[in-house]
């Protein structure tokens, strides 16, 4: 807290109705702090989420004991979180930039199918498994590009443009795969991506890397700053000299690439490509991003919040599994927990100001 200023705290315009506004504690000393400090501010800003996650963990320990607190179980949770987590990090950018993407699941499916066709696998086996990586990323980026062009230059509302992509990409995935699950026979690919490094699954490492890069890009680069500006007030951003359309397009491409990465992770984990992969990821990812505190209307995004959101949902289902809960009861409890977590985050954020 290098500033002597006390006068600085978030907005208090009594928000009239619908939108909940998470705390906006300004970035008080972005230049000063070390990692500990960073964690402290991040934790502070996301206090409600952290508390919600902790409560879940306590519930896990109380009901599951060692079975929950066990290292292997933690890795299980993280591995489960990894795929949807990578998608959610990418989606945080698009939502912060004022957009939305309903096609993430479909893009994951199409990428997974494309990188596991017989042709791709044959080439991969003849040359290198990186061919599959390239295929998935290229398909993801391509779909993202189409979304981006439709939204930025075609001026189609993102919801509709990406809804169209959802239908299109899934249909295409079905046609290409002929609705058959494609099994991966490229040992090198699975060997690398489904392995552990120093006891930590590569999937988890990838997720951590994507989240870390996402955090740096959003908070420490001109690209991130522009994303916030474009989402907050596109007209002002344009008049300030930002190429809003091009930037918007980049955001969707970035998300497409994240979907490609997620597809690779899922292919490695399931050793299959399938047109049914990633079903309903759109809802899960949007939920994680929004529960994390990113404003659905754009202009404010938090990678830490997104990661916490993903972890809350995955921990939830892990605790449920450990406790043998009925599916329907889980569903009801899940609804209650979502409401509770958001209310908690709101109250704690309000208290802080």
């Amino acid at each position: 807290m290098s500033e002597p200023e006390t006068a600085v705290v978030g907005r208090a315009t009594p928000s009239p109705g619908a939108q909940h506004e998470p705390s906006r504690t300004p970035d008080l000393d972005a230049d000063g702090g070390g990692l500990a400090h960073l964690l402290r501010t991040a934790a502070g800003r996301n206090l409600g989420l952290v508390v919600a996650l902790l409560i879940l963990c306590v519930a896990g320990v109380v009901t599951g004991g060692d079975r929950f607190a066990d290292g292997a179980n933690v890795l299980t949770i993280l591995r489960l979180a990894a795929v949807i987590g990578v998608v959610s990090v990418g989606l945080t950018f698009v939502i912060t930039g004022g957009g939305i993407d309903l096609s993430v699941g479909a893009i994951v499916a199409l990428s997974s199918v494309w990188c596991t066709t017989l042709a791709t696998q044959t080439i991969a086996n003849e040359t290198t498994w990186l061919v599959m990586v390239f295929a998935a990323l290229a398909v993801g980026a391509g779909c993202g590009l189409v979304n981006g062009v439709l939204v930025a230059y075609g001026r189609i509302v993102p919801f509709i443009a990406t809804l169209a992509m959802l239908a299109g990409a899934r249909g295409l995935a079905e046609i290409i795969s002929n609705r058959r699950t494609q099994i991966v026979n490229v040992p090198a690919f699975v060997g690398v991506l489904d392995a552990d490094v120093l006891g930590i699954p590569v999937l988890v490492i990838l997720f951590a890397a994507v989240a870390a890069i996402g955090w740096v890009v959003l908070n420490r680069t001109t690209f991130g700053r522009r994303t916030v500006a474009v989402g907050g007030n596109p007209e002002a951003a344009r008049l300030a000299g930002i190429r809003v359309q091009r930037h918007t397009m980049y955001l969707y491409v970035l998300l497409g690439v994240c979907c490609g990465i997620a597809a690779l992770m899922l292919v490695a984990r399931t050793t299959t490509g399938s047109s049914t992969h990633g079903t309903l990821y759109e809802l899960d990812a949007i939920a994680a991003v929004v529960i994390g505190g990113t404003l659905l209307s754009g202009g404010r995004g938090t990678i830490v919040g997104t990661v916490l959101g993903v972890l809350i949902f995955t921990t939830l289902s892990n605790v449920f599994t450990l406790n043998n809960l009925s599916i329907s009861a889980q569903s009801v409890v899940k609804g209650l927990i979502i409401v509770a977590a958001v209310l908690l985050q709101q109250r704690l954020a309000a208290r802080k100001t």
């Binding site: 500033e3 906006r24 680069t221 001109t222 700053r225 002002a236």
Partner: protein
């Protein structure tokens, strides 16, 4: 239920009849800011009570407390002597307080009529009586001298000035006993202001009290009866009679110092400017339906003024030459390089900057910090390989906002929490930081207080002196004449006159501007 009584108002003779409105010791705190620290305001029936104060003094906050939009943290409000509280805007509207807020409070996708009667629709069993409402709206607009505004038009399709009229009409549609006007003249030109005053006088004659906020002291002189001055959230003087208080004294009360309201001197030899190559060349630039071909050039160190009525197309010329709108023909050159049509980014890269007319919707990232708003056009400067140096950013932002005296001073504060005038300074700070070759200013002093106004004039001149070519659009003829070296007069989308500022006087410009315009 709407129209005021038709009989002229008879002042109640009784000495001890309580004033219409008394506010005492009003306190209002925002997180970290004491916006009002004990404000008194007394308003009597049939008077125009002016509220003066610098940007951020707390005027808008006070009237939001009065209108039930904010809840005070302390103090007392009496209405006709009885203590009242307005837990929501409904309560204030019910007793007869109508407010026109500083920020336009209209719904873009509703028609003029619908906006006027929003919240108190003319209806039978919930069904709107459209015909009747339309007729009433027409009547109200006619009463304000604006029968021309189509009552079925969507408000979003109206110019800001017409929107202001609609806001007024809405206030008049209530059975108003106290009309609060927060800087209504900011979007109006002189003709419109005269019209507004006519309406206000009519209301006062019917016994309506008016609270009037403006940074233009000459307006206070014309319309005001008494004055309350706010400074830093407290009332430093109340109930000053307008006729007996010299302007000098008002300025002293507001600012705590004496300021000469003057324009900075022009450079000695303006002729020398025109011999150098122009920095900005606009060649037959046109946009079909908005303005016909316009040509002019601006030299380094020169200030070009664009005068005209609201709606004359000046903003469109600026926005088009800035690339924010596509031109249908013509070209723009900066330092001899032709700019691609419709690309703002190219202009900014070439050193052009624009302070747009509507700073909230076009200029600012309201939820972002002052720093982020100031540096948004200079991000490269604070980054290496795309990585931002937050520290350098904040240091620079602190420096440039301090030089403009943005208040309060914190650069981490969200711009939304600044008062209007200070928000304007933030936009200026952006281009100051960027270091422009060409600066386009659209109504740069709208809503800016007199102290800051003088500072801004000085700043603009200083920029020009440092070699920047400046284009200023203003609806205040005095401002254009006082600030600019050369003036273009626009009417109905065309340039009708061009002359050095020193060769024009206010009356001449007004004639040019109005000539042929429907009375």
């Amino acid at each position: 239920m709407t129209t005021a009584p038709t009989t002229p108002y008879e002042p109640v003779p009784s000495e001890d009849a309580p004033p219409l409105l008394q506010m005492r010791g009003i306190l209002k705190r925002f997180p970290g800011v004491l916006a009002l620290g004990g404000v008194d305001l007394t308003v009597r029936a049939a008077e125009v009570h002016c509220l003066l104060g610098q940007n951020g003094a707390g005027k808008s906050t006070l009237i939001k407390v009065l209108s039930g939009s904010y809840q005070p943290d302390g103090g007392e409000i009496r209405w006709e002597g009885r203590p009242v509280s307005f837990p929501s805007p409904v309560g204030a509207i019910k007793v007869g307080i109508s407010t026109i807020y500083q920020e336009l409070d209209l719904v873009a996708d509703l028609s003029v009529t619908e906006n006027i009667f929003l919240g108190h629709e003319l209806s039978t069993a919930g069904f709107t009586r459209r015909g009747q409402a339309g007729a009433r709206a027409r009547e109200l607009l006619a009463r304000m001298g604006h029968a021309g505004i189509g009552v079925h038009r969507l408000v979003g399709s109206l110019s800001p000035a017409s929107q202001q009229i609609v806001s007024m009409a809405r206030a008049l549609s209530h059975d108003t006993r106290l009309l609060v006007l927060d800087e209504p003249s900011a979007v109006l030109d002189s003709g419109e202001v005269a019209n507004l005053f006519r309406v206000v006088r009519g209301l006062v004659a019917q016994g309506v009290a008016v609270v009037y906020i403006s940074h233009r002291l000459e307006e206070i002189r014309q319309i005001g009866d008494r004055i309350t001055v706010l400074k830093d959230g407290t009332s430093v003087a109340t109930d000053l009679p307008v006729s007996e208080t010299p302007t000098r004294e008002l300025i002293r009360l507001m600012t705590g110092r004496s300021i000469e309201y003057v324009f900075p001197p022009r450079p000695q030899e303006p002729a020398a400017l025109t011999t150098a190559a122009p920095v900005l060349e606009v060649d037959a630039l046109a946009r079909r339906g908005l303005f016909s071909p316009v040509s002019f050039a601006v030299h380094a160190g020169e200030i070009l003024g664009l005068a005209g009525l609201v709606g004359a197309g000046r903003s469109e010329v600026l926005e088009t030459l800035y690339g924010a709108r596509r031109a249908t023909s013509g070209s723009v050159r900066v330092n001899g390089r032709t700019m691609p049509n419709g690309s703002v980014a190219a202009r900014v890269a070439a050193g052009v900057g624009l302070c747009p007319e509507e700073r909230k919707s076009q200029g600012l990232l309201l939820d972002e910090s002052v720093t982020a708003n100031v540096t948004v056009s200079s991000l490269q400067r604070f980054s290496r390989a795309g990585f931002l140096d937050h520290h350098a950013e904040r240091v620079a932002a602190r420096e440039v906002t301090a030089s403009l005296d943005v208040r309060p001073a914190g650069v981490d504060r969200a711009v939304r929490t600044l008062s209007g005038g200070n928000q304007q300074k933030v936009v200026l700070a952006r281009w100051l930081l960027r270091g422009c070759k060409v600066l386009l200013l659209d109504e740069p002093t709208r809503g800016v207080d007199i102290g800051a106004r003088t500072e801004i004039y000085t700043l603009i001149r200083a920029l020009a002196d440092s070699g920047v070519a400046v284009v200023v659009v203003s609806s205040e003829v005095e401002e254009v004449l006082g600030l600019a070296d050369r003036v273009l007069v626009m009417r109905e989308g065309a340039v009708v006159h061009e002359a050095p500022a020193s060769a024009l006087d206010e009356a001449q410009v007004l004639d040019l501007v109005m000539e042929g315009a429907p009375a």
